[in-house]
Amino acid sequence: MATDGGSLFELVELKELLLSPGEGAEVLVRGEREPGEYRLLNLAYNHGEMEMMGGDGMMGKFSAR
């Protein structure tokens, strides 16, 4: 429903969202399935960073399962 710069004009339905460092998003998670526990997962993403540079290069890919 919103990015790092502000609100969207209309809702965009997503199953996954890639966020790089500095990016942000506001999301609305609908609780309309069977009652229970649902995990929001941080998925792996290869951004080409070399091993030696690791640590500060975290990027998150986010998904509801």
């Binding site: 790092d4 609100s7 969207l8 965009v12 009652p35 929001l40 500060d56 290069g57 986010f62």
Partner: protein
């Protein structure tokens, strides 16, 4: 990263059809190109570059007229094929095209990921804030090793 738990039920609430308007920006007066890259510098080792230059606080890289609308084509030409999230301070922008394809919906952004080998065209209206500001890669290691530039906005 998190677990959502819920139980019981209520009747579903309607989602809003419209949020806030994201106004289209006027056509740009200026098109600039920024090439994100890396290289080796004698005595320094690895450096990260914008248009072939590492950051220098004494240098103005980009002169923008106050109130101008500009398109910035940010091209990731890094030979090491690393992604670079491009961040512009103070002036929000809209992504117009990604690799020549129009953005799927209008959105205000202050950071956009430019994946290895790809090009993002963004549009900003430098309307409100004269003075110096910066743009840079949002990966701290890249920014510290030079991937940053100074923009000066003046009437």
């Amino acid at each position: 990263m998190a677990t959502v738990a819920y139980s019981g039920s209520i009747s579903p609430l309607p989602l809003p059809e419209r949020l806030l308007s994201v106004e289209a920006l006027p056509e740009p007066q200026t098109l600039r190109r920024f090439e994100l890259s890396m290289g080796m510098a004698p005595g320094k080792g690895m450096v990260f570059l914008i248009n072939g230059k590492a950051f220098d606080s004494e240098r103005i890289d980009t002169q923008v007229k106050l109130n101008a609308v500009e398109d910035w084509e940010v091209a990731n030409v890094d030979p090491d094929m690393m992604d670079h999230p491009f961040h512009l301070h103070v002036n929000p922008f809209q992504v117009i095209e990604h690799n020549g394809k129009p953005a799927p919906y209008p959105a205000w952004k202050d950071t956009v990921l430019v994946p290895a080998g790809e090009t993002v065209r963004l549009r900003a209206h430098f309307s409100d804030f004269p003075g110096k500001s910066v743009y840079h890669c949002h990966l701290l290691g890249h920014e510290d090793l030079g991937m940053m530039g100074t923009v000066k906005i003046a009437s």
